[in-house]
């Protein structure tokens, strides 16, 4: 029975046809896994497991899983320029991975062929912007997918706590000139993301277009190149990860003590809203965003 309140206000429920429930993991591809590992460890991530058959390492802190893929056969690793790591995949937690994958293909997504070895998980994926991929994972409640494909690193804590309670807040995607409408439509259509009004902003870099995932657990930001930029600078890629944190100033302090450098600029307004780490290895930066 519907309650009177609901009838009176007719609150629309946001559709979530894939049953997205947050981010299961984010993946970097790199030919310099150790250098990237150091950066991640400064940020509070800890290596916890290694892939059984490939040069892939799982890092973790708190609720965040981060995979470093240095598998030489992976085309994405080959594509990394001069060893610069690239954000190569985001895995969404969904209600049913097969159904999510099938639905996306029906809507016009490009499927990624699986290269799972014997006894490994076949995680369905579609192509994302640039050389990136979106994975769909539906087994995250009852057990960990990493128990199948990964061997734990001995003596290491499997679930290291997050520094200052950090968690995935969102992903920043660089897009081509005048491509905002295209990508907004793509994410709305494929994943039921919804655009956030331009007045509503988070963090310290309020550029571009913002979307919210249908589960409400993370944001997605699209940033076009500046008009004066060359065509070469207008490539499309997943650019950086946003980390949500309750106390930005405290987190900045803790991370600085670990050797992380931050961008200090009058253009940015670090105060309480957020902070941006200095880009290292040519491409790796993290954005801290205030989150209650």
């Amino acid at each position: 029975m519907r309650t009177q309140t609901t009838d009176r206000e007719s609150i629309p429920e946001l559709p979530n046809r894939l049953g997205i429930e947050g981010i299961e993991f984010i993946e970097y591809a790199t030919s310099r896994p150790q250098a990237l590992g150091q950066v991640l460890e400064q940020m509070g991530f800890r290596p916890v497991a290694r892939h059984r058959s490939r040069e892939v390492t799982l890092y973790r802190q708190g609720s965040m899983n981060l995979i470093v893929n240095a598998n030489h056969e992976a085309a994405r690793v080959e594509l990394t320029q001069e060893g610069q790591p690239v954000l190569s995949a985001v895995a969404f937690r969904v209600r049913d991975a097969l159904k999510a994958h099938t639905r996306c293909l029906d809507l016009g997504a490009w499927s990624v062929p699986s290269h799972a070895q014997a006894m490994e998980l076949h995680i369905p994926a579609i192509h994302g912007p640039g050389s990136s991929r979106f994975y769909f994972v539906d087994r995250w409640r009852e057990f960990s997918i990493y128990d199948i494909d990964f061997n734990p690193i001995p003596t290491v804590e499997v679930k290291p706590p997050a520094l200052e309670g950090m968690g995935y807040f969102g992903v920043v995607q660089y897009i081509g000139a005048q491509r905002s409408a295209d990508w907004l439509t793509y994410f709305e259509h494929m994943f039921d993301f919804s655009p956030i009004p331009d007045e509503e902003r988070y963090g310290i870099l309020p550029k571009g277009k913002l979307m919210r995932s249908p589960c409400g657990q993370f944001l997605w930001q699209l940033i076009e190149p500046e008009p004066w930029m060359d065509v070469e600078d207008s490539g499309e890629c997943l650019q950086r990860i946003g980390l949500g944190v309750k106390d930005v100033a405290k987190a900045v302090q803790v991370l600085k003590a670990r050797g992380v450098e931050f961008v200090e600029s009058s253009r940015l307004h670090p105060e309480d809203r957020g902070a941006l780490t200095r880009s290292v290895l040519g491409s790796v930066a993290f954005e801290l965003v205030h989150q209650d």
């Binding site: 029906d106 809507l107 016009g108 997504a109 490009w110 192509h127 994302g128 912007p129 081509g176 491509r179 409408a181 295209d182 990508w183 439509t185 793509y186 259509h189 494929m190 499309e236």
Partner: protein, 292 residues
Amino acid sequence: MHMLDGYGMDTITLAGSLEAKLSAMKAAGFSQVMLMARDLVGHPGGVESAAQAVRDSGLRPTGFQVLRDFEGLSGHLHDYKVDMAKSMLVMCQAVGSRVLLACSSTSRHATDEREQIVRDLRKLAMLALPLGIRVAYEALSWGRTVNDYVTSWELVEAADCPNLGVGIDSFHIFAARSPLDALEDMDPEKIFLVQLSDFMWNETPTFEDRITTARTFRVFPGEGVHSEQLADLVMRLERMGYQGDFSFEVFNDDYQQLPLSTVAERARRSALWLHQDVLHRSAPLPDWTGSR
């Protein structure tokens, strides 16, 4: 900025190798070229060499053609067409074209159900979107369900994707005797391509007449019997605010056996007729005057 910048030839008009076609167009003063998939796959060096030839020519691709009979199919036919579309999109991207031309279906196996056509067009647009390609959907005057530009526009509007628009071809408008008044209902920014050509008959009552004429005996704008209507069409598009390209889609068996420079010169004359006599645009002043 040159006088012929908004006009381009189509490789299908000329005989010979891709390089010879590109060179003839360039020598006639054109700066863009509408490419046919056959130009790439038939190139002795393969698709990559063909794409390189286009890049080396300095000519900007107006668009890439042509995806046929995509919409309205089901089951294995639909899956097959999705594969065809993907291959075409990959080539379109390789050659640096931002527009893929898709013609309305002539297939007896295709449904006339509007919802499915809209769904398929949206799917095609989604397939093209991550590649940065826009789809221009064009009504063939012998299309089974969609055979005038008004219907193609209604479907494009219903599919509502930023990278899906219409392609207008003057031949089909004159052959089907479609009134031009409905142009005014269209959003000029959703016209992704305008192809211009004329022909020598006043009547093409049957689909067979239209097909034969379209494929063997089109002529350049200003050379046929519909010059007045063609001028009217171009002026209406100009008034609406259309700022895209005019490409000469001239299939002509005679032109296929003439020297390329002779045909390209006819194209140049046609472009000048449109530019000076129809649109009354003046020749731009030299750069040094500072008044562009």
